[in-house]
Amino acid sequence: MGRNLKFEIFRYNPLTPDIQPCMRTYRLEEHPSMTLFIALNMIRERQDASLQFDFCCRAGICGSCGMVINGRPGLACHTQTCDLPNHIALHPLPVFKLLGDLCVDTGVWFRNMGTKIESWIHTAKAFEPSVPEERMDNALANHIFELDRCIECGCCVGACGTARMREDFIGATAINRLARFHIDPRDNRSPADFYDIIGDDTGIFGCMGLLACDNVCPKNLPLQDQLGIMRRMVTIESVRGIIPAFIRNKLQGCGCKQKC
């Protein structure tokens, strides 16, 4: 017989503002290999049909089930109850617009972020549908793919102390995405262009190196490493004309194999 789990779940529906937000308690017997996703479905099916939470793929791919699990953002489908204590508190991800209970709207946030950082390839080349695609070095393609693995779950944003304090901060996920375009040879943007996008306190300089984004990322993306590379590039760009070029070039090198 499994443990008797006590779930404390945040309940609030913005469509019924007269009912105050509260934490509601549910009890459930633990099963082997039970994930939070399974537990939440069981609660909804057997105890409270009004409980709202998002899910889609059940495999840590869609990023829909991001929530705050005992104080730390994570994916419900990725989290096994056996890794948690008997008492499990669930909250919606902060920063994002609350849709109800554990549901948040990450879509609008990510769309606005994508627009702000111009999250697309910038090239002067006209698209030729009949011409074969240009070849790319395999290592570089893998590197780009590594950064493209972000599932936009919003856990890094929910774990970021800066994003909690300053709502205009673009977050690690945005800078990671920009880093992906920075290493893509098809993107013709220069360091000056990247500086224009993220060279202020709402961008890369707003990051205080709190590292929670890096530690909670369910896909284990090297977020802080990317932030470091972008920060160095943008910082050096910010002192163009003040620091001699040979010193800037020296500082630019980081020992990694990435273009930076």
């Binding site: 730390r72 500086y195 190196g209 929670a212 470091g228 910010s238 002192v239 980081c254």
Partner: protein, 209 residues
């Protein structure tokens, strides 16, 4: 098109100056504590170093410059501090829930920054208005009530410097994810060494015959 010699727009370079001033101050602290620590070997050695720095006017010039640099560093870094209404509460609640050591370290830096800002002024003022700098003079000051000040000031300076260097390395990608635990452990060990050296130096001056 010829690239402009300055970046487009009048964006601030505050982050660069924050890092540059912080790095200079960290370097100064590391050297300062080692020179101060020479009292453990011999008070005469420390007196000799102090005499040399005064005779060459390095101490007289460096002291006010350092106070100004500390003010400059604080002024720039303060833009990220949780001064606005509710920000500190939000951040503390967030840190408590998250239980993330690196997030707490930033709060430690904020707290020690405020202590250092106030303490550095008094430290420099009392030393520089009582020239020449001697171990005997320091012992007199410690016995006249400054020991408690140093018992708080020293750990704050070491913590702020150590955490600052670690976070600088992380923020600029010098310390990658793979090396982070090793670098953090090294920084804590170095901070422990500096704290031991500082404590030994204070004890040596306190018990000076």
């Amino acid at each position: 098109m010829i690239a402009s010699s300055f970046p487009a727009g009048a964006r601030s370079r505050l982050d660069f100056w924050q890092v540059a001033s912080g790095a200079i101050l960290a370097l100064f602290i590391c050297v300062h504590l080692i020179l101060e620590g020479s009292v453990v070997i011999s008070p005469k050695l420390t007196d000799g170093i102090a005499w040399l720095l005064e005779a060459t006017c390095v101490a007289q010039i460096a002291a006010p410059c350092l106070v100004l640099l500390i003010l400059f560093h604080f002024w720039i870094a303060a833009r990220k501090m949780p001064f606005r209404a509710g920000e500190l509460g939000v951040f503390v609640r967030h840190s408590r829930c998250l239980r993330e050591a690196d997030t707490w370290l930033w709060l430690v830096q904020v707290f020690t920054a405020v202590v250092i800002l106030a303490g550095a002024f008094f430290h420099v003022y009392t030393v520089m208005t009582d020239l020449p700098i001697t171990v005997a003079g320091s012992a007199k000051r410690l016995h006249s009530g400054w020991m408690a000040f140093h018992a708080v000031f020293l750990p704050c300076v070491i913590l702020h410097t150590g955490i600052g260097i670690y976070r600088l390395a992380v923020k600029f990608g010098i310390c990658s994810k793979a090396a982070r635990n090793r670098v953090r452990a090294t920084i804590w060990i170095v901070m422990g060494c500096y704290l031991t050296l500082g404590t030994l130096a204070l004890s040596r001056v306190w018990f000076l015959e």
